[in-house]
């Protein structure tokens, strides 16, 4: 019985080792896929869908200084640091990109605001080696411009609290710890 346990123990350790080795191998393979030193078919860049193929564009935004922010979804920690080049007509615009502190898959690039609706060429280029990682041609849509008259208004009208000093409402308007919605 002792021998059986020993064999079982060794088998489990070997299995665990193989599993770890498998994941390391897979990770390296993934890293190689995104590696800047190897030549692979160029990844197409598009807007993110419900089952996104990364990297993809999440949204376009604008800050008070008139800068445009382009949000990306990437593979996360494995994905190399990159910058964004947008070609409009014959002019190139460079956007500096940074990962958010919270989630390695969220990256945003900041630079000059460009016109909405016009088809532009987007290049995701690695910081290390200037290799084009992804490329796509599409127009900017859904940008929220930072002028009060040009906002998109995604939320429905609010409940009026006219003439009342603001305070917490007395009845729940949104169930706490809700269940599955049908």
């Amino acid at each position: 019985m002792t021998q059986k346990r020993l064999i079982l123990g060794i088998s489990l350790v070997v299995l665990l080792f193989l599993a770890i080795a498998g994941f390391v191998f897979f990770r390296e393979w993934r890293r190689d896929q995104a590696s800047v030193n190897k030549r692979y078919p160029l990844q197409a860049l598009k807007y993110c869908s419900s089952s996104p193929v990364t990297p993809c564009v999440v949204s376009f935004s604008q800050d008070a200084n008139g800068n445009m922010l382009v949000s990306f979804l990437t593979d996360g920690a494995f994905y190399p640091d990159f910058y964004l080049k947008i070609t409009a007509g014959e002019r190139d615009h460079i956007y500096v990109c940074e990962k958010t502190n919270t989630l390695a898959t969220s990256v945003y690039c900041t630079g000059k605001a460009l016109p909405v609706g016009e088809v532009l060429q987007f290049y995701v280029i690695s910081v290390n080696g200037d290799v084009v990682l992804a490329q796509g041609n599409f127009p900017i849509i859904g940008i929220a411009l930072a002028g009060p008259d040009t906002f998109l208004s995604p939320t429905p009208g609010g409940i009026s609290t006219e003439g009342i000093t603001p305070e917490v409402t007395s009845s729940p308007s949104y169930p706490s710890y809700p269940g599955i919605t049908p």
């Binding site: 770890i20 990770r27 919270t102 906002f151 706490s176």
Partner: protein, 603 residues
Amino acid sequence: MNLFADIFSVLTNHWQLIVSIVLIMLLSQFMLGFVLRKIFNERLHTEEYFALSSAGWILPLSLTSVIWLAWGIILPARIGAALLLIVLAALAIVLFIQTRKESVPGLNAVPWSLLTLLGASILLRFAFVSRAIVPLYFDSAQHYLIVNALIRSLDSNELPLWSTLTSSYYHIGFHLLAALIVSFSGASINDVILILGQVVVGSIPLSIFPVIKQETQSSAAAIFAVLLVAFGWYMPAYAVNWGKYPALTSLPLITFVISLAYRTLTETDTLSRGKSRGSMILLGLSTLVTVLFHSRAVVVFGIVALAWILAARWQRLSKLWGGVIFFTTLIALVLIILFIGTKEIFGLLFDPYWEKGLLVTTGVLFLAIFAQWRYPRLAFASLLVILLLLGALLIPIQVPGYGMLTWLDRPFVEMMLYLPLSLLGGIGLAGLEKSLQGLTHTGTIKRFWRVPYLSLLFIGILLANALAHYNLYPAGCCEIVGRDDLVAIDWVDKNLPAETRILIASTELRVLDTPQGAAGSDAGIWITPLTGRKTIPWPFQSDFSQQATYDWLCQMGLGYIYIGEIGATFDNESLSSQPDWYKVLLSMPRTKIYQLSGCPLPQ
């Protein structure tokens, strides 16, 4: 196929963290199994040891995290965590070598089935992580804040002061455990909370196995109960959508304590004095650790103990009185269910078990008849537990510092009801098996309907139902952070002054008859944990176009207003309609950050 692709993507993206957590889980499990084996020797089957140690694996690890906290005064958190885990691993190796010298029962199909179930259960739960941007709902932001505070304190070789963690939070067990894992793995707090949470959820089902196996000696019935816990109803696993990680972590521990108490009580006469004492010490320690994870576990232990004692007394009654008490309990149960149904605040309580789990609950109620017939004490105790859990929702208690509460709250009872129901289902199936066995012996029914087929039939129906209805992914209700929110919060961190105060949307927290204050209702609740900026919660329905609102905001000295991408957010139109009062700083398709402008200077 998407499910497997999603699970695989989580495995590849978080493999170091997953391997770390699973390894310490196995170490912890092995050590607990060793202690249990020392106490109970050959009184328990291999599968019972495995299931018990799977239920209580958090126990040794929690004790380690408490030692790590104490070491925090002398050692940096990361070094302390690494050293402790090396000691833990060395101890496990020594214990393993020692167990090799002892004879242990052989392994049959049941322990392997349980191991497979545990592995599959944990793996499947990783699908949730693939679609979660950060841990869900507002509770998770609080967990992040506490874990972060713990790590920061220990990094500066200080014991964290209670007040630095939070003034109103007391379930510190989960945060200590998460902080320990963050320290030694180097992973981000959010990743640790997400992955650890899913490993815990995956280990909950196995915890029910020992009680049913002990009571019925039927492994098939116990496995059926395990599957009931895993996929029967959307609870308890759904509670990850609420960010109820401390309460979830207490669930396998609660079942571990109940199983251990049950074993200790039933083996009192056969255990030596020393072993009996050892069992009691382990029981006491497990109870303490469980309470450290969720203080309301005390109430659950009280309810279970009371139900068990009452069921024992009930069994000693005459048939007539026993019948009267049994039917009175049933009527009381029906009445309390009807009464709770009339209370709007408890409206969601039965949703997982009735509205969304009718088929499974009906099956369990059918099996409960056989449970009551063949295993009356445990079945009656389970009924009493349901009755008392529901009763605890209605009985008020004055808690110093917290005001008037009730013994248990709606979300926790909703999470807990799976336990008595699964017990009834498991022992009910064993009862049905037993009844049919009697009939096959007398030749009343055909051989085809013999026991193994019956268990397979029930397990098959349960799994088919789960395949059709069970959702392993995050629920839309509780996702309050979108991808743009992360960019916006990062932008806040890099662009707004550190001492600023930001207005964020909130909703009323209400799980008891009386409101419990405000709870963040969009990603604004994550601003303080992620950037350190102070936030002021305010009802999301507020109308910012009103003069009174603007005056109040100015009086409060608020600098900015945050509108999140999803959840219950402020109304953007009421802000954008007053450009002189609210200047837009960051405009994303749905997420916005406004600056309050034109406020009169304070006199």
